[in-house]
Symmetry: C2
Subunit: 415 residues, 2 copies
């Protein structure tokens, strides 16, 4: 196992040198060729996926797991469409910025470069194989993919399409490698291969990510939980407040940028909570309020645990606060530094919220659901980082790159 | 010990919230007040430093260690002058960039924010206490300093000046805390305190940094070694080549951006090596050449180990190569991805070197000695990162910050 993973790492390292030099047009040709290969392999992909589904049923996977595992026509079309979209994005590699002359006469700037070798560790969704490979390929990196063991046949079939496309475009097949063993020890090898792997990106549930972060010696770009807040200020436009609070919770439940706790200023709580409660009731959202909330609307009682919980479900906790200071203290203490929004017409408070809330996305008068690579204009995202180092918030192509300093001289020496 | 370090961490976390909101003028006042306190404490600083020097002599520290440990008038003046220079730098915190309107109507941009709590682990130089604290303070972070145990009295005395200055400017004294125990277990606690510490910056020798990197669970911004190259191309201007190769090696020996290996194109080796060899001989630089080098000049034989060695001394290895491809292959295989320079008048080769060499600084026709925060215009640096994630190359104030997305809306919701 150790030896197998080392071989994979060395091959990836060799391929990454070639990938870092590849022209944008070559990488785009590869992405389009992979998309074509996927479109032409629908039957084969579904056949291999059937083996995983059958094994999953035999092993008693629940319905939700089986659903995530399934590759149907729509999902296969989604994979190839996603790759074509990535091909259409601008190539970030090689971009030079901030070029200035220094008093010594040298010119100095920064050039965007690939990270090198990226290890992606993910759970049962086989379509991640194509998404993740596509983004890493476009950003000039080599990739090692480690999918869930329950999707091994599907992942191998997708990886075959990827390698066909790479070779067709004249890029090294080793630029995207799938770990073909389901032995769990492979993950341990991958996340400690500092010599050959530059960064690990885990995608999946919180427990997977916590386990990987604590054991990895390779740097990890990770997304933990999303406990997002909307704060309705005393000077909020209550129509905007109602729409934003409703949309942030109910647009989708199982996503990291959904609101989990609503904070309401005491001065407007009696005015806005009843109307909001009835909108939530219509949608079947369970409300859990603090004592002051329960004096205004009927709902369950929120416990201390609620403030620290990512429901990912049709449940919302509500707390009445006295002012923006209390709201921000709650957000910074109980939130997950993911996405938080204030609804207010007050310029000074808006400015203060923007500066003082320590989250990867801080919003004024907008739904937390906007925290997303597509909405932010990144084109696509490999995840939303809750880390502070390197990449924070939605991670697109740029988050998969680094920079190096470039210095242009004409014979300058230090004196 | 565990409890002591936890308390330190919690106090730092609390102080970091206040620091992140501090105005530039307040932070500058603190820096100037610390500088004044240092200037007014010369006698006390020297008296405390004497205790460390005496203990060092008693414990048999060598002359180089004792020299690094010493706080003389010039070094004390250097500390306060350094702090005044940091006060004069622009505050990076709060800067908003890349603000654009999206089709949904939201405006999105990035705001620069402090990292939070930074742990600095360093060896015997007590003046690092002031430098590191100053940079972290200016960038709005709270800092935990862990200096070498042999400098504990000196570090405590400097820390006292820092805390005086912080309090005088109305900032929390806990914004800069010194670990006041010399127990080695404190380092282990600090580098695994993920809850309260956001990043660790080790400063010191390679073995310290390797030990910390391998044991830390908190992210580390590190500088390992500097095996830097100059490649003299067939189309080099040989006058520039001679000056750059000479300056890169001899301007200073014990620094990470000094050249350790010179690569020379076979077409010009016979022309340029004899003159260079005599310049190096005059300076007393020992040359170790490959076989082809030794056919041109008299020198010692370079072994395989030489290509992977950071001498930090008046020693230079020299290799003759056939073309830029061989030169870059050598650099990428044996270098430390720190700083590498090509000397050439050929546009196409210069462009290729810039793109394909995977180092934190890549140069054309300039001495490797320019890889430095001051020379690059960063104002000051806390170190030179050889990592790829987050900060690469010289790390100044910006490297001590992160960004968050800011979203300005007018009631927008996702549809």
């Amino acid at each position: 196992m150790k030896e197998y993973m080392q071989q994979l790492g060395l091959k990836a390292r060799a391929a990454s040198a070639e990938m870092s030099r590849a022209e944008a047009s070559t990488k785009n040709n590869a992405l389009l060729a992979i998309a074509d290969a996927i479109d032409q392999s629908v039957a084969a992909l579904k056949a291999e996926n059937q083996k995983d589904l059958q094994a999953g049923r035999d092993n008693g996977l629940d319905a939700a797991m089986l659903d995530r595992l399934e590759l149907n026509d729509a999902r296969i079309a989604g994979m190839s469409e996603g790759l074509r979209q990535i091909a259409a994005l601008q190539d970030p590699v090689g971009e030079i910025s901030d070029m200035v002359y220094r008093p010594s006469g040298i010119q100095i700037g920064k050039m965007r470069v690939p990270l090198g070798v990226i290890g992606i560790i993910y759970e049962s969704r086989p379509n991640v194989t194509a998404d993740a490979a596509g983004l890493c390929l476009k950003s000039g990196n080599a990739t090692i993919l480690r999918g869930g063991s329950e999707a091994i046949h599907s992942n191998k079939a997708v990886a075959q399409c990827i390698q066909q496309g790479l070779v067709k475009a004249g890029l090294p097949a080793d630029a995207v490698q799938l770990v073909e063993t389901t032995d769990r020890a492979a993950v341990g090898e991958l996340i400690t291969a500092s010599e050959t792997v530059d960064v690990i990106i885990p995608r999946g549930g919180k427990s997977l990510i916590e386990r990987i972060s604590s054991d990895a010696t390779v740097p990890v770009i990770k997304h933990l939980d999303g406990i997002c807040h909307v704060y309705i200020d005393a000077e909020a436009d209550l129509n905007k407040a109602s729409d934003i609070a409703f949309n942030s919770k109910t647009h989708r439940y199982g996503v990291c940028n959904a609101m989990e706790t609503l904070l309401v200023n005491a001065q407007v709580a009696a005015q806005c909570l009843p109307e909001l409660a009835s909108r939530y009731a219509e949608k079947g959202v369970e409300l859990r309020g603090c004592e002051r909330t329960r004096e205004i609307i009927e709902c369950n009682t929120a416990t201390d645990e609620d403030w620290d919980t990512e429901y990912l479900a049709a449940i919302l906790s509500i707390k009445v606060v006295d002012d923006i200071g209390q709201a921000m203290a709650h957000i910074n203490a109980h939130g997950s530094h993911h996405t938080d929004s204030i609804v207010t017409e007050n310029y000074t408070l808006a400015r203060r919220f923007l500066r003082e809330v320590d989250s990867s996305s801080v919003m004024i008068n907008a739904s937390t659901r906007f925290a997303d690579g597509f909405e932010y204009g990144l084109g696509a995202e490999i995840g939303i980082s809750t880390d502070k180092l390197h990449a924070r918030g939605p991670v697109g192509l740029e988050g998969l790159t680094s920079v190096k300093y470039v210095v242009l001289g004409d014979g300058q020496i230090r004196v």
